[in-house]
């Protein structure tokens, strides 16, 4: 039994869980910042991304070292490959939260639309749920849970379309239109976070079955 190897694998996996928790904090912060127009919180989210990034690099280096020294095969190999990709997906989610925070700062002083902000709250909650399901499916090697992400993604996609429709109804006021343009991007960021969660689910399915497969043919 290769004890140190197993310990290294476990350490990588728990580090990824920590990264997931960091991303969840970042997501909650960014949605709260945009909904409350809280510029201070937006700055905090932007600064906090360094924490996500350093976790990302630590995992990346750990994987590099493990591949070089331990030559994992079979389910170990699949786990390491899945972790390598999941790590990147989480880091990208963190970046999307930063984008939301920056868009929040760019819309300083512009009049928000309450219905839209409600939509963001909903999307933020859905994205958070998706990240949790994705991380749990990995932890429990649960393919069914991983595949359920596709349905959850459909809900966040619909919310995204509602946001766009609402924006089209906002009228011709220049300030409102500028705010709306920025907010379309916020909506898009949240929707993309959902996509990354689906991708993590796909890695779990690969880990369990050994088959590379996208859950859906369409690019989400």
């Amino acid at each position: 039994m290769r004890i140190s190897f197993q310990e290294e694998l476990d350490a990588l996996e728990s580090s990824l869980r920590v990264e997931g928790e960091l991303v969840l904090r970042s997501l909650r912060g960014s949605v709260e910042a945009v909904c409350a127009q809280d510029l201070e919180l937006a700055d905090e989210v932007i600064a906090f991304d360094d924490d996500v990034d350093s976790q990302y690099f630590a995992i990346e280096q750990g994987i590099e070292l493990l591949l070089a020294r331990q030559t994992p095969v079979a389910s170990d190999l699949r786990l390491v490959l899945a972790l390598l990709k999941d790590n990147l997906h989480l880091e990208r989610m963190g970046d999307l939260c930063v984008t939301i925070a920056k868009l929040t700062k760019l819309t300083k002083g512009l009049q928000p639309d309450d219905a839209l902000l409600e939509g963001f709250k909903e999307m933020g909650e859905r994205a958070e749920q998706m990240i949790r399901v994705a991380l749990r499916s990995l932890e429990q090697r649960d393919r069914v849970a991983a595949e359920s992400l596709l349905e959850l993604d459909e809900l966040i996609d619909r919310a995204n379309r509602r946001v766009v429709n609402r924006l089209l109804d906002l009228g011709h006021d220049l300030e409102v239109r500028e705010w709306g343009l920025r907010m379309i991007l916020v909506s898009r960021c949240l929707e993309r976070i959902g996509d990354h969660a689906v991708d993590i689910g796909e890695q779990t399915a690969y880990l369990v079955t050994g088959e590379f497969r996208e859950f859906t043919d369409a690019s989400h």
């Binding site: 095969v73 079979a74 389910s75 190999l77 699949r78």
Partner: protein, 289 residues
């Protein structure tokens, strides 16, 4: 003025991802002719069953690796392919080994002819205490293949990637060669009698990493013309060189008797990414014992 060269003769055609996938994919070696077909084989030594219930096909122009812990019967099995077990007193074989469809153990089969067609390379290089030239020429001479001996020796040494290193000292003793060179000499000696199959029992386990790499590269070259079966303790070696991999394990009976069994036989890519059997998974990932 410097211009970009477009001389195609200097371009090495890179292997495409499609080529790699084809070599390791489903449509690979298993569609080829089976050189050996093993059916329900069991081998015992003085009544002790060393290995039993083995059925597998060895495919043409492929490298087939046998892996597994000590005592799993992998060396016993490879020795059945050229009737080396005949030389062991008390050895008994049940079941069938077909070679190109013909029963290798039929009464009318000459074991010497079998060993000419199915050569073997051992763990420890075992050159004869003779010159490099005579080591290679020995087999052909015994078989009465006398014409163009120089050409035969050169071809065998070329094929074994040893020619350039020894061409100026063919009359010197083979024992003066390094371990890695001696092993390639043994491979050349095996090739000189123009075999069909090369069996290798731990061919690189006594060699340093550089010599090991040379042997592995050589195996890759040789499989274009020969069928190769290798027994190895080094799982990564199997992963690197083999097209097909068989994993063997040991079963211990209540009275403490140990018998080798075949657990899984599949494409090497499958064995090392998604093995079907838990025991294979545990072995290749190092979770045994």
């Amino acid at each position: 003025m410097v211009t970009m060269s477009t001389d195609s003769s200097t371009t090495i055609e890179p292997m495409s991802l499609a080529d790699i996938a084809k070599e390791h994919g489903d449509a690979g070696v298993t569609n080829r002719e089976a050189v050996f077909q093993v059916n329900d084989l069991a081998v015992s030594y003085s009544g002790n069953v060393a290995i039993r219930d083995v059925s597998l096909d060895v495919f043409e122009n492929a490298i087939t690796a046998f892996i597994g812990p000590s005592g799993c019967g992998k060396s016993t099995l490879i020795r059945c392919f050229n009737r080396m077990n005949d030389l062991v007193p008390g050895a008994k074989i049940a079941g069938q080994v077909l070679y190109h469809g013909k029963d290798l153990y039929a009464d009318d089969v000459d074991p010497v002819e079998v060993r000419r067609r199915i050569g073997m390379v051992f763990q420890k290089p075992n050159p004869f205490p003779k010159s490099i030239y005579d080591n290679i020429a020995f087999g052909p001479r015994v078989l009465g293949l006398k014409d163009d001996m120089d050409g035969r020796v050169e071809r065998a040494l070329q094929q074994a990637a040893l020619w350039d290193e020894v061409k100026d000292r063919l009359k010197e003793s083979a024992l003066g060669l390094s371990g890695g060179q001696q092993q390639r000499l043994c491979i050349a000696r095996c090739l000189a009698v123009e075999p069909d199959v090369i069996l290798m029992d731990e061919p690189a386990s006594a060699l340093d990493p550089i010599s090991t790499t040379r042997i592995e590269d050589l195996m890759h070259e040789l499989k274009r013309e020969y069928t190769i079966v290798i027994v190895t303790h080094n799982m990564q070696q199997a992963a690197r060189v083999a097209d097909m991999t068989a994993f063997f394990s040991v079963e211990v009976s209540p009275d403490g008797k140990r018998t080798g069994i075949i657990v899984e036989y599949d494409r090497t890519a499958k064995i090392f990414t998604t093995p079907a059997d838990k025991r294979t998974e545990d072995y290749v990932t190092g979770r045994f014992g």
